[in-house]
Amino acid sequence: MAIFRLVIRRLLSSTPLLFMVSALTFVLVSLVPGDPARTIVGQHATEEQYRTVRGQLGLDEPLPVQYWHWLVRVFHGDLASSLFSGEPVTSVLNNRLPVSISLIVAGTVVSGILGVALGLLSARRGGFLVRIVDGLSLIGLAVPAFWLALVLIAVLAVQLRWFPVTGYVPFADDPAQWARSLVLPVMSLSVGAVAIIAKQTRDSVLDTSTRDFIRVMQANGFSPRSILYRHVLRNAALPVVTVLGVVLVSLLSAAVFVETVFAMPGLGSLTQQATIQHDIPLIQGAVLYITVLVVLVNLLVDLAYGRLDPRVRAA
């Protein structure tokens, strides 16, 4: 019940955020030079055709009115249609969502597992491994995802031909090809995240290991394995979960580049195309979806806190 209340409270408190983000996006898009009606009618159209299209799209109305119309449609469950293809925005976004979700969830799982494993190893073994984790962290943070993507394509796709250069295969079509199409994009996305999580895990584990209650357990003869997995890790997990939440959100933005390089039909590449074309309904819809994703990730992090720390649950 407490969890249910937490979820409701968090979702309600996110509503103003959705308003603010959508309004801000509307203003920012309108500030970018260029007119979608001009792009649609092209270079040979008459001024009359241009004005007609502008009127049909509602672009001749004042900005607040345009936003209000959009908002009213959203409340009716309609995100309008793309200015260019004419397809309903909801349908376009629903087709794209599984791609981005696959990419980001796989990226988070891989970076979470590898990051925690590396961090634990480094905390337990120390010495040379610490320096390796630190070095990898620096490299991971310094290497941009899109550059890494190009290198991975050149080596693993072009030279060795292990993976496809571009494209995405839906899970329902072929699970094995789906996994194969995700390997290079997920690798590109995860390197930086693995580094951050590994470093956070190591620091957190080392910090918890020196706490008094751990020393007492050690003095009472608890096995080192039991202390590490049952107590140290559980306590060290809180900051790691926080970082994981931040990493997941940052993967959303990195996915824009990675999806473009690998020609994956996800939300990121769609947002990029829509921004270039000034497809306002599509941009608004994509931003709305992405904002909801960020809200859900934060909610999951909060729930994970509650699960890991009884004090948070009580609060």
Binding site: P33, G34, D35, V41, V92, I113
Partner: protein, 514 residues
């Protein structure tokens, strides 16, 4: 609990890795197999509606599903397609008639008649974006079960070109499509060799075409499936073709070596010209541009050879005109009319009353290297005392807005090769367009164009070459170079894939498996 989660997480990773490894040995993609042609396009089509698609960038998407009234061959000649007979009626290029092939059906099984074709052409000329090309046409009517007549209010010498697969106007749309025009943006309603398979198409990502069971000539259907995949990143696109994931793509000059070293064949042909359009010829914003000597000085002040070599190597050619070899208006003797001569440029500026040069504000676009050409020209103009500030547009909408705003006396341009009649509608006739926003007029030029438009076909090239000489003499622009359209493709798998001036590689009819 944590341990359990770690174990399940590791298990997921193992499954992913196992799946990846299991597939790793197979390097063959579906595009590399004989029955599927996979083509890469850098951008999604503006629309699949032939009337609203972009000529040039969207042709492949439209041509696969829509046959046109006539067909242009690689040699530039017009041949039969849905029409078997065609021609102007009488003199003056105002009446044009064609006879349709008997027994043709649309992909949905509806019979194609003269009425359906006339309705399609009327829809396109009234709703199409390229309205200037069809503005001379005032009626399209069925004059028999299979004959259609086009009547023009003024001479239109390019009706056959208008009806071919390059300019898209002649793409015949079925009655079902015309009845619900909105659907044409995402579905196909044609009589082409293929139909759009909407179940296997994702807008903006890939477009799948399958054979049209009702096609009138099944020998022209060479593929069980044609897929056009959108890959915006040029490096990824080239690598996809190199690894066999796709078969064809357009490339830039600096990708040619990578393509050939990867075993791909490369073809090219002049397809566009780039330069600076001196649009304020009446000196409304920039008084110096009113003087033809100033405009000529700006031409003499540009070292076209060095700019071409630096920017496009052997894939460009310096030129002073806005036509391409093989097109009716190309005047070979005017390719180097303004040879680089800064001293002469300064003399002309001094004679016009600007011995110290002048300042100019202009617009350019960051597509297709237009901004690079602009920057190079601006640097060279400094040597003759002309200092230029440049506003660079980053989107098509921004460019069209600025180009037509009449706020810039000069505009950077890139323009695909076209017949001189079509070119004149954008560049030379006194009505406002993105290439002639101030609607400049030159009565002598307008008269020359009127004469050429009404002349018999065999006399037109000579007349249009004189038009080109006139407009170059008047220095309405500083054309700098023409560039090649370059394509890389897998020649071990394909044949018939070719390009020529004003001709796009024909996927629908000509590109076949070896």
């Amino acid at each position: 609990m944590f341990r359990q989660r770690m174990i399940s997480g590791l298990a997921t990773l193992v499954v992913l890795a196992a799946a990846a490894t299991a597939c790793g040995g197979s390097s063959k993609e579906s595009g590399g197999q004989g029955d599927t042609l996979t083509v890469i396009s850098p951008s999604a089509p503006a629309s699949l509606d032939p009337a609203k698609a972009n000529v040039g960038s969207d042709n492949w998407f439209v041509n696969l599903a829509y046959d046109t009234v006539l067909r242009q061959g690689q040699d530039g000649k017009t041949g039969p397609a849905l029409a078997t007979k065609w021609g102007y009626v009488g003199t003056g290029n105002r009446e044009f008639e064609f006879t349709l092939r008997d027994g043709v059906k649309f992909a949905d099984g509806t019979a194609m008649t003269a009425q359906t074709v006339a309705a399609s052409l009327n829809y396109t000329r009234k709703n199409g974006l390229n309205v200037s090309w069809t503005s001379a046409i005032d009626s399209v009517t069925a004059t028999g079960p299979l004959t259609v007549r086009i009547h023009c209010s003024s001479p239109h010498p390019n009706v056959p070109q208008l009806l071919n697969q390059i300019l898209l106007v002649g793409s015949v749309i079925s009655p079902a499509g015309l009845a619900d025009a909105k659907k044409m943006g995402t579905q196909s309603f044609g009589a082409g060799p293929y139909v759009l398979d909407t179940a296997h198409t994702a807008t903006g990502d890939h477009y799948t075409y399958t054979p049209n069971p009702n096609y009138w000539d099944k020998t022209k259907i060479h593929w069980k499936k044609v897929i056009i995949k959108i890959v915006a990143n040029p490096n990824s696109a080239l690598q996809a073709v190199k690894t066999g994931q796709a078969d064809i793509l357009g490339i830039t000059a600096n990708q040619v070596d990578t393509a050939t070293s990867g075993g791909l064949s490369v073809i090219r042909s002049p397809n566009a010209f780039l330069g600076i359009d001196l649009v304020d010829r009446d000196g409304v914003l920039s008084k110096p541009l009113k003087d033809v000597r100033v405009r000529q000085a700006l031409n003499y002040g540009v070292d076209r050879e060095s700019i071409t070599k630096a920017l496009f190597q052997q894939y460009g050619h310096a030129t002073d005109q806005i036509s391409l070899p093989g097109l009716d208006g190309f005047a070979a003797d005017y390719d180097n009319h303004y040879s680089y001569d800064p001293a002469k440029a300064k003399q002309l500026l001094a004679a016009a009353g600007y011995p110290n040069g002048f300042a100019l504000h202009m617009e350019t676009q960051n597509f297709f290297g237009i901004d690079l050409v602009t920057q190079a020209v601006v640097q060279q103009w400094k040597q003759i005392g002309v200092t230029t500030t440049v506003t660079t547009d980053t989107s098509i909408g921004q460019w069209l807005g600025n180009a037509t705003s009449k706020k810039f006396p000069a505009l950077g341009f890139g323009y695909g090769g076209a017949s001189t009649y079509t070119l004149s509608l954008d560049w030379m006739l006194p009505h406002p367009t993105a290439f002639n926003p101030f609607a400049s007029q030159d009565p002598a030029l307008t008269a020359m164009l009127a004469t050429a438009a009404a002349a018999p076909q065999e006399q037109q090239p000579a007349l249009y070459q004189n038009v080109m000489r006139r407009v170059v003499d008047q220095a309405w622009f500083v054309s700098v170079l023409r560039t090649d359209g370059i394509y890389a493709f897998n020649s071990r798998k394909l044949k018939g894939f070719a390009v020529a001036p004003s001709y796009l590689p024909d996927l629908a009819w000509a590109t076949a498996p070896k």
